[in-house]
Symmetry: C2
Amino acid sequence: MTNFENRIGVKSLLDKVVTADEAAKLISDGDVVGMSGFTRAGDAKVVPMALAERAKNEKFQIDVYTGASLGPEVDKYLAEAGVIRKRGPFQADAGIRNMINAGQVTYVDAHLSHNAELVRQGIIGPIKYAILEAVAITEDGMIVPTTSVGNSNIFAEYAENIIIELNISHPETLIGIHDIYTPAEQGKRGPIPMTNPEQRIGTIGIKVDPAKIKAIVISEEPDAPSMIVPPDEETQTMANILLDFFRDEIKAGRLTNELMPLQSGVGSVANAVLDGFADSEFENLVVASEVLQDAVFNLIDAGKVRFAAAASITLTKELQEKVYGNLENYADKICLRPQEISNHPELIRRLGLISINTALELDIYGNVNSTHVSGTKMMNGIGGSGDFARNARLGIFVTKSYAKGGAISSIVPMVSHVDHTEHDVDIIVTEQGLADLRGLAPKERAAAIIENCAHPDYKEQLWDYYNRAVEATGNAQTPHILSEALSWHVSLAENKTMKKELAK
Amino acid sequence: MTNFENRIGVKSLLDKVVTADEAAKLISDGDVVGMSGFTRAGDAKVVPMALAERAKNEKFQIDVYTGASLGPEVDKYLAEAGVIRKRGPFQADAGIRNMINAGQVTYVDAHLSHNAELVRQGIIGPIKYAILEAVAITEDGMIVPTTSVGNSNIFAEYAENIIIELNISHPETLIGIHDIYTPAEQGKRGPIPMTNPEQRIGTIGIKVDPAKIKAIVISEEPDAPSMIVPPDEETQTMANILLDFFRDEIKAGRLTNELMPLQSGVGSVANAVLDGFADSEFENLVVASEVLQDAVFNLIDAGKVRFAAAASITLTKELQEKVYGNLENYADKICLRPQEISNHPELIRRLGLISINTALELDIYGNVNSTHVSGTKMMNGIGGSGDFARNARLGIFVTKSYAKGGAISSIVPMVSHVDHTEHDVDIIVTEQGLADLRGLAPKERAAAIIENCAHPDYKEQLWDYYNRAVEATGNAQTPHILSEALSWHVSLAENKTMKKELAK
């Protein structure tokens, strides 16, 4: 093991360095544990693996709350070891997902900006242990996070005890990247003093009482690389459609060439759409997001993005090497904040973000399902999409118009689960086109969505449903035929397709 | 007509005084018009009536945006005269409601805090005329609103022209009640400088260029009184349940005796629940709401409420006389603000509001329908309920567990329309009991809601659906049987009851 002592500024804490197994023994059955980690970045790794190992000989369960999704150590190995009783607020691993959808793990998916308030109120908690990955502990006792901040600041503040995974595989050049600001209790707090994402309003680390740090485990495990797929022809088309929309907004005087701070959700489609800026005329862009994926660093390199702030950095293997090996080049261009800040409605509204998130399915009136396959099985979770879509200047949802080779239409009469209501969805983009729903009533929205965004294979079928619903309800505000509204999903389950003529 | 000149501080504007008919002639076919008015308070009255009169001899249509609901002048008479083409963001009048649900008026219901941003962006607009009720125009050219502020400030700022209804039936003691603060454009604005609802951050009136004021019409029409029904045994029970919950929260250390600023939605149930505080031990309460109904003034009189801020005051006839006849007694205890401020996510989150709103129906997982009867027919609109529920410290929804003498269960397997998702609903109260959903996963929520809140006549039927859904989905995250999820609504339409044994 390479030298780690210089990364522990509080020398009395050198006594706390233990093995992962020893640290794992501190956790007791029934504990509520807060862990670092957001979109597979900056998560605790070796202590969870030691916990999974310990579970081979001992039955115990814990509740695990994190920033957002983690790598496989927690959400695959620890989950499959049967250790996780309750999990929140986000996951994106097939291991724990299958257990969630079999009733083996209780999963509370929640708006990512809400967790900190729930911790303050004791709804999440009392937190017995926070297990936090750090790149260093400063001389004045601040924990410096690694590639994500997530909820680590609030976990550190409210946890009775803290275990640090000091990960020396992360470069020390991460020190100074973070901007840790934690609001006080509700009713006792002031405004968040930020009017521009480039401002620094906090500290470079998380201030804690060193006495709360009960163990420090040295780790060299890298973050699990992100698994986004590269842009394809259809996502490129979606990016082009969106860029044209921005150009039209500039012509209409509603945006300038610098646009507004950009937020782009987790995942391949949102990443691909951002990637589309690379060959555009747009410059001097600012990103204010919850996660910085590959595209953002490519845009920084291309001179398109001036500054990028988020709660985490999650990169593919290729970009990890490039970015973390040259972090000093990005140090004045990026910033990592707690997710309570990156996703805070106060800031999203004030700054006027352009928010781009992925829909699982959406309906003809613009309601969006982000989470539940056929209304019942959890995919990942709502994440920050609600924080952003509700408060953004432009709430944009992107999705391909179809899935499973055309057996599924992403646009349905009624979504099987609602995460974002008609009131929160401004713009929809598929590879077919764009629907601008701002200021439109439900029936106007239906026409725009079906005509501009639906796949040609489903357009007639959607119009047919809509027209019959208008007729059946006497042209009511939001026409539906309730006995038929979810029939496309039922048909999918029974006939493996939403296509009417094939289902017969 | 009594003396009005002393209420027009800019003397050059005395030339602009015209009749309502003359003012109404200024409006042209196709105009987008912004009108004052919020929950039947402070709305323009005589010019709309003159417009309705004019429509007898002339065909023209306009788009009408307001603060929220208006009295009958606009939403009954003007609507039924066929003048309203598009209407937003809220209404609550049977006249226009029937036209909306027959496709005769295009209705855009929206979060009440969102309108101002849409005006700034030009999505609503360009606004040709703002028609604003005022109690006075100050010497420095500020329009002083009457019993509501609503969107009047943003309409005044962005409208090309302004028509004032100077309503001399409103007491001049209203001057000084208002606190007008308007954020700058997104990206160029600072934090809203309020950390306590009792602070004043703005001006007593709306600053405008007097040259924009094209007409002043003198009016003596009082606000239409609110039509809330008095508390009954069941709403009293709901109030008691909620008070006991607050007591438990205090015991748990999550609230103090002063609670947190209270928001209570429009309508009889929410008013009745607030009324319940009158005989309680709670004191020194602060109200930070969108509307102040009778209960708030009764609580001020009873020494329970220290201060109350909102975007409007809407009272029954009895309370109107009492309050407006003695406004000087309330002047230092109340404050009216723009709805962008009363409903702003920044402030709701910062101040930690306790938010109480009414559900039309809700489902076993805690999704709430606030707007659409059987998913298709608009009732009123989402109003501010989304602004508050999403950002409040405690998002509480109240409803009786049944309607139509028991033919309808307010708790259904799946709501027919979603306005508030499972992520935004913390507490549900019916006359049967309270479900505390904070930190719970969907299946935990289902158990709490069915067991604590459902009407006994429907409990078994809900458990039956839920248990079969768990079975059918292999215990998935959110069990549903999609072919059956909306069958209760279908049964209601076909059999006039949701009760299974009666429907057979």
